[in-house]
Symmetry: C2
Subunit: 132 residues, 2 copies
């Protein structure tokens, strides 16, 4: 992985995705590897973005929503209007995440209760088995 860039194979092994996925993300402009001949070379920027993409996916965001977040991380010195849009969009995603975190916390609690109940019922099955 000389020169701080990675081949598509190295990327795939590192992030456990397929080449198809990386090419697909590139086609959607989520990644923009440089080319050496016709081969793709992924930079640290691509790696950082991919990490965020995969995270976002786990949170249930669509690739389009994820792009909105990436745009904020990205907008190096640009138009003010563009940064404003990115800022607003990312702020909404943040609100989504905070809501999601709260709901998640609640749901985890409820599910834990339910699992406890399940444990008890399973234990009672053991009793019956032992008694028989």
């Amino acid at each position: 992985m000389a020169e701080d860039v990675m081949t598509i194979r190295e990327m795939c092994d590192t992030f456990e995705v397929t080449p198809r996925t990386l090419r697909f993300y590139e086609s959607k402009e989520l990644l923009s590897p440089i080319r050496q001949g016709n081969k793709r070379l992924f930079t640290r920027r691509d790696r950082a973005r991919l990490k965020l993409i995969l995270r976002g996916k786990r949170f249930g965001f669509s690739l389009e929503e994820i792009r909105q977040i990436l745009d904020l991380y990205d907008t190096e010195q640009g138009e003010k209007a563009q940064l404003q849009r990115a800022y607003a969009a990312a702020k909404e995603r943040l609100a989504d995440m905070e809501r999601q975190r709260d709901e998640l916390e609640e749901t985890i609690g409820e599910l834990k209760d339910q699992l406890e109940w399940g444990e008890k019922v399973l234990a009672s099955f053991d009793d019956k088995t032992a008694a028989a």
Copy 2:
């Protein structure tokens, strides 16, 4: 909404989904409304399940994964083996959620930092505008 059941319209208005969605969930056995003639009537059980379904979706779970959780909430006195499977599946979903919560917490932090940076840059634009 007499007798504690709701028509498909009432459900749609309450949960902001379309009839198609409710029928689709029924076809996937996530819901099981009773029938009066050929009309569907949704009980409190259906409502509770739908609430969990919509939550699960927001967390990025597939309908299939959600069914695994519902199965635990559901398995009223059944086969031991069935409950065990539901228990194991639900426990995995719980682990997913806890991982997700941790990642979410981290990501929220990072995004907040990034937003702060965005605010500063936007403020600097204002300075330039004021200076001009």
